[in-house]
């Protein structure tokens, strides 16, 4: 009996163990390789069927769950200028109010998404881009919609939202900046007019050498060889536009919001203080000057209101003097007395962080040779970057093109990555693109001729939405009617074989926004193309291109420096313009639309990333192979740890690529080799 019992127990345990080893869940692949072939519609159908689940989840988790609600909050600022976007309470006959009314009347489900401001924006903008999209891509999108069982409208939105979002964002950032304090001038006080040095590089010596007026954001040092005992005077102003959310409150810079970061230390007033009655100084509850939250600061920061005006001087005296023969960096920020409640949280209008770099006496470099890199501010993330090398920059002469795109992950995009191999049946060039489920395009790609295309966004007010504002002013519609940059990339890869042809194509399409496009070909051609929409029909056509020195025209700037090269065999880009510095400088009504460097929040972090990228290339010059290129991409100061999307290195001569997808940041993942040449050869044999 005992033996029987024991046998039973053993059987039981065995069964339990067997069941216990039932398979543990495995993470599905976040990155997939998908081959699409046939006609555009057929390719779209394959795409939609294969990736139906991921297309739906990317759409749902990125748009209605994240981006659309976020953009909805911007309507109030937009409506303060553009009357078409006022809600029913403000104007029941506005375009937006009528649209919502009609939408809700016919809406059965998902009404809070489908009848929202942001959905309307995406939909209408997508529809206006539709007319410019070549038929092949329309067919492909239709195929995706049919394959995935989703409405074409949603697929169109997925394929155009990047362009729309960036153009829209540029406008809203600009509108906010108009209503915020701004720097009028900056002065370094203390011996600059008697040191015998042209400190501000204006061509004159000891004549207002410490003055930068008007304020001009620059990618280089603003002042050089500055006495270590010098201090700063920052001129700020704030005006009221008298419209929208800027109504009511009086203009003026709130002295208690002044914040200065000097190198890595932050100087700001204690939270318990408030502006005095005159709004000239920040004081504590006893009316005494407010203490600064740094023990080293002994009266290092003070403010002074210029009488009978809203202008303010801020005086900052770096504690303990500046270090000799060194670089010093300052980040300046201030807010006003506005109390904005929509969108929440309650806040004042704050100006963009403005950065300034100077060198102190003995450093010995000219301003144009010092990048306005600054120090890590502890919160900014680097933007997208790209670089290409060839010849003497590499150990074996092989051309490489690298790209790391970062913009928006929202904890979802990285799970929907796809490397598409596209094999047209109409004689167009087969190519690969790195993209996402549901998109007909990617952020970079390469074709069978070894032409490589990649792009970074480069904020510009020279975009279609501004163009509509130029035409219709406050009655303008927010429509981004240019060719989506990703589709332009597909067209380039499908039909061009070298950088010159690719640049020519870009010149002749209506661009949807500001873009930095890097082109590389199998013959070692390297080209950087900075583009905008060219709404004012400038002579440059809205497209400026340059190459490494020695590659022909447009390889050097007015000072004889290479635009973006260390030597003759490299090129790099970030997310700001190097050449297209005056992308837009125009007054719309009462609004001064300034070039990119004056307003975009990408600018300073892009300048910093570009500078660091150059340094990393320089360190490895002559040795840059795939492994070194990966090292460069993985440089911590160049990696956006939150919104990194994809990283890749192309080898156009060998039709190879090494891609890293599916992690955040992308560069944390393994770089996987993909052989486009072998893939196409195999398919051909079959």
């Amino acid at each position: 009996m005992n033996k029987q019992l024991i046998a039973l127990l053993v059987l039981w345990c065995t069964a339990a163990v067997c069941f216990a080893s039932c398979s543990e869940t495995q993470q599905p692949d976040y990155a997939q390789v998908v081959v699409l072939e046939g006609s555009p519609y057929e390719r779209g159908l394959q795409h939609g069927r294969l990736l139906e689940s991921r297309i739906r989840s990317l759409y749902a988790t990125l748009l209605p769950n994240s981006l659309l609600p976020y953009l909805n909050r911007e309507r109030v600022d937009v409506a303060s200028v553009l009357v078409n976007y006022k809600d029913a309470e403000e104007n029941p006959e506005s375009h937006y109010a009528l649209w919502v009314e009609e939408c809700l009347a016919g809406c059965i489900e998902r009404c809070s998404e489908k009848c929202s401001f942001s959905y309307m924006l995406m939909k209408e903008s997508g529809e206006s881009m539709w007319d410019l999209i070549p038929q092949d891509y329309r067919d492909e999108m239709q195929g995706i919609a049919d394959g995935a069982g989703m409405p074409l409208e949603e697929i169109l939105i997925m394929n155009t939202f990047v362009d729309t979002m960036l153009a829209f964002r540029s406008l809203t950032v600009f509108i906010k900046q108009l209503q915020a304090p701004y720097v009028t001038e900056l002065e370094l006080i203390g011996g600059l007019d008697s040191d015998g040095i042209d400190n501000n590089s204006d061509g004159t010596t000891d004549e207002n050498d410490g003055l930068l007026k008007p304020w001009n954001p620059t990618p280089n040092a603003a002042f050089v060889e500055v006495p270590t005992s010098a201090s700063l005077r920052i001129g700020l102003n704030d005006i009221k536009l008298g419209m929208g959310t800027d109504k009511g409150d009086e203009a003026g810079v709130d002295p208690c919001t002044i914040r200065i970061q000097y190198n890595e230390a932050v100087y700001e007033y204690d939270d318990t203080c408030e502006a005095d009655q005159a709004r000239a100084q920040c004081v504590d509850s006893n009316g005494k000057p407010c203490p600064v939250k740094d023990d080293m600061c002994d009266d290092c920061l003070r403010t002074e209101l210029i009488e009978n005006s809203t202008r303010m001087n801020v005086f900052f005296n770096p504690p303990g003097e500046m270090e000799k023969a060194a670089l010093a960096s300052f980040i300046i920020q201030a807010g006003d007395f506005n109390r904005i409640i929509d969108p929440p949280p309650l806040h004042a209008r704050f100006m963009r962080d403005e950065r300034l770099t100077i060198s102190t006496a003995g450093y010995g470099e000219e301003a144009m040779n010092i990048d306005n890199r600054g120090f890590d501010d502890g919160r900014s993330q680097p933007p997208s970057i790209s670089f290409a090398v060839r010849g003497s920059a590499t150990p074996d002469g092989e051309t490489l093109a690298a790209h790391h795109y970062a913009l928006l992950d929202s904890n979802t995009t990285h799970k929907h990555m796809v490397l598409f191999v596209i094999k047209p049946d109409d004689g167009a060039l087969p190519h690969v693109v790195l993209g996402y489920a549901g998109l007909v395009w990617g952020f970079s790609g390469m074709n069978s001729s070894g032409l490589v295309f990649s792009f970074n966004n480069s904020d510009s007010l020279d975009n279609p939405m501004s163009g509509h504002f130029e035409e219709d002013l406050i009655n303008a519609m927010l429509l981004c009617d240019g060719l989506p940059i990703g589709i332009a990339g597909r067209e380039i890869l499908a039909g061009r074989e070298n950088v010159t042809e690719a640049a020519e194509y870009l010149k002749n399409v209506k661009r949807s926004f500001g873009w930095n496009v890097q082109l590389t070909d199998a013959d070692g051609g390297l080209m950087a193309v900075e583009t905008d929409t060219n709404i004012l029909e400038d002579e440059d056509g809205g497209l400026l291109a340059y190459s490494p020195p020695g590659d022909g025209d447009n390889s050097k700037d007015e000072y004889g420096r290479a635009w973006a090269s260390i030597k003759n065999d490299d090129l790099r880009m970030a997310s700001h313009f190097r050449m297209n510095l005056e992308d837009l400088n125009h007054t719309f009504l009462i609004f001064d639309a300034k070039p990119q460097r004056y307003w975009t929040s990408f600018y300073y972090r892009s300048v910093r990333a570009w500078s660091i990228l150059g340094e990393e290339i320089k360190k490895r010059y002559g040795d840059i192979d795939v492994e070194r290129a990966i090292e460069i991409l993985r440089t911590p100061e160049l990696v956006d740890k939150r919104d990194s999307m994809q990283a890749v290195i192309y080898r156009p001569e060998k039709l190879l690529l090494h891609y890293a997808l599916g992690t955040v940041p992308a560069t944390d993942g393994e770089f996987i080799e993909f052989d486009l040449g072998a893939t196409l050869a195999e398919e051909a044999q079959q």
Binding site: M1, L5, L8, W12, C13, A15, A16, F19, A20, C22, S23, E24, T25, Q26, Q27, P28, S53, R54, R56, S57, A60, T61, P64, N65, S66, L67, P69, Y70, N72, R73, E109, R110, S112, E113, K176, T257, R259, Q333, G335, D342, P343, P344, P345, L346, H347, A348, F350, R352, D353, G378, R379, S380, Q381, L407, L408, S410, H416, S601, R642, D643
Partner: protein, 406 residues
């Protein structure tokens, strides 16, 4: 024969002797034609879980929130607390001396879930001139259509899954085994799907089914063995082991559509209108010791005079039981239209283990002439770490009333 109403009542209340074994005994069956009514109140509370590395962690992972394109807003750290109160009514019947059946009807008195978020501010945000405070964050979220999840309470008066059970003491008719003090039973229980699923539109809510309670499976097989030391220790000690396998069945659930939480709970858009969960089965074993420190008087009362049984065979006045249970939990499997979402859920329900300690005190008054047993027990998963499971504690108190009808 005429019987007065009072006599009938008395008849119903007549008791037969209960064999001298603790009711918590792993191999207990009721004597033939005996009813046992058991009513207990259970209160459970839960605030921790165990992760894949056997470490104690919060029930809900902390959430890092980022401003799109700009810095860390802050970190939401939930310190969720869950409570259940359940009234369990059981009725067991001895068909034969070695075959008993039973039905258990659990009624949830209430459930509550309190997320209790705390907030650690993140980066300085240039757009608002400060780091986000907790209020700032929820104001921001509300502007996107997402309200702050609040406390939830519900399930008042809702049934959990009704259980039916059958126990067969297959060693009962083997004299040698019985005389040696050994016993073994096979128990099969099955749950009827009378419980309710949690509201899919609520972030913090709880269902009442077996899967939600995670205390036992829907079809359970138990093989128990015990040894009582009648001669050696005056029947004051019984040691037992139980081996079990408990099955959970696949169930369908309604996907959330975002009617109350449009940003956090609108998965229907991509996972489909329904999804299914196939929970991981349980398997494992228990060790139990039943100890009788005090048996009490053994004198004739109206109970024993009526039945003619030896008072020594009545349950001891005071006894207690200690039990250790190890449960292996298999991987739970989600199936929807999105493999990505499935994985995100399954990642929280990887194969795991529970280490459960249970102690129960029993006070039986039959020897004193009252047909009543009162007990109190405490079950905890907090003392010995588990893996990929929740760390709950349960306090239960109850009464048992044995009855026999002639």
């Amino acid at each position: 024969m005429k019987t007065s109403r009072a006599s009938l009542l008395l008849l119903c209340m007549l008791l037969l002797f209960i064999p001298g074994r603790a009711i918590a005994d792993l191999t207990e069956t009721l004597p033939e034609k005996t009813l046992l009514l058991d009513v207990s109140y259970m209160h459970s509370w839960l605030s921790k879980a165990y992760d894949n590395n056997w470490n104690s962690t919060s029930l809900i992972d902390e959430i890092e929130r980022y401003e799109p394109g700009g810095g860390l807003q802050g970190v939401l750290t939930p310190d969720a607390k869950v409570q259940y109160s359940i009234l369990l009514m059981q009725l067991n019947y001895g068909i034969l001396d070695d075959l008993s059946v039973g039905i258990g009807i659990p009624l949830v008195l209430y459930s509550s879930v309190s997320p209790q978020f705390s907030w650690d501010s993140g980066d300085y945000q240039p757009t608002i001139g400060r780091a986000y405070s907790e209020q700032d964050f929820w104001d921001w979220a509300a502007s996107m259509g997402q309200p702050k999840p609040g406390d939830w309470s519900g399930n008042k008066g809702k049934l959990s899954d009704i259980n039916l059970g059958l126990r067969f003491k297959w060693t009962h008719r083997i004299d040698a085994v019985r005389e040696a003090g050994w016993a073994s039973t096979l128990t099969i229980t099955g749950a009827l799907p009378t419980g309710s699923q949690k509201d899919p539109e609520e972030i913090t809510s709880a269902g009442t089914g077996m899967w939600d309670l995670h205390s036992q499976g829907e079809l359970c097989f138990h093989l128990a063995v015990d040894k009582s030391f009648e001669k050696e220790l005056d029947d004051r000690l019984t040691l037992g082991m139980d081996f079990f396998y408990e099955v959970f069945f696949e169930h369908d659930y309604t996907s959330p559509r975002g009617t109350k939480n449009p940003l956090l709970l609108n998965q229907a858009l991509y996972i489909g209108e329904e999804y299914s969960i196939n929970p991981g089965d349980f398997s494992g074993f228990s060790f139990q010791a039943d100890i009788t420190p005090y048996k009490g008087p053994a004198r004739q009362t109206w109970l024993t005079r009526r039945s003619g049984n030896d008072p020594n065979t009545l349950p001891p006045v005071f006894s207690f039981a200690l039990r250790y249970t190890f449960v292996h939990i298999q991987q739970s499997d989600w199936t929807s239209n999105s493999v990505l979402w499935d994985y995100d859920q399954e990642d929280n329900w990887r194969p795991g283990a529970k280490n459960i300690l249970y102690a129960q005190l029993n006070f039986a008054f039959l020897r004193l002439g009252a047909p009543l047993i009162v007990y109190a027990g405490f079950r905890t998963l907090s003392l010995i770490p588990g893996k990929n499971t929740r760390s709950s504690d349960v306090l239960n108190v109850g009464i048992r009333v044995p009855m026999k009808f002639w």
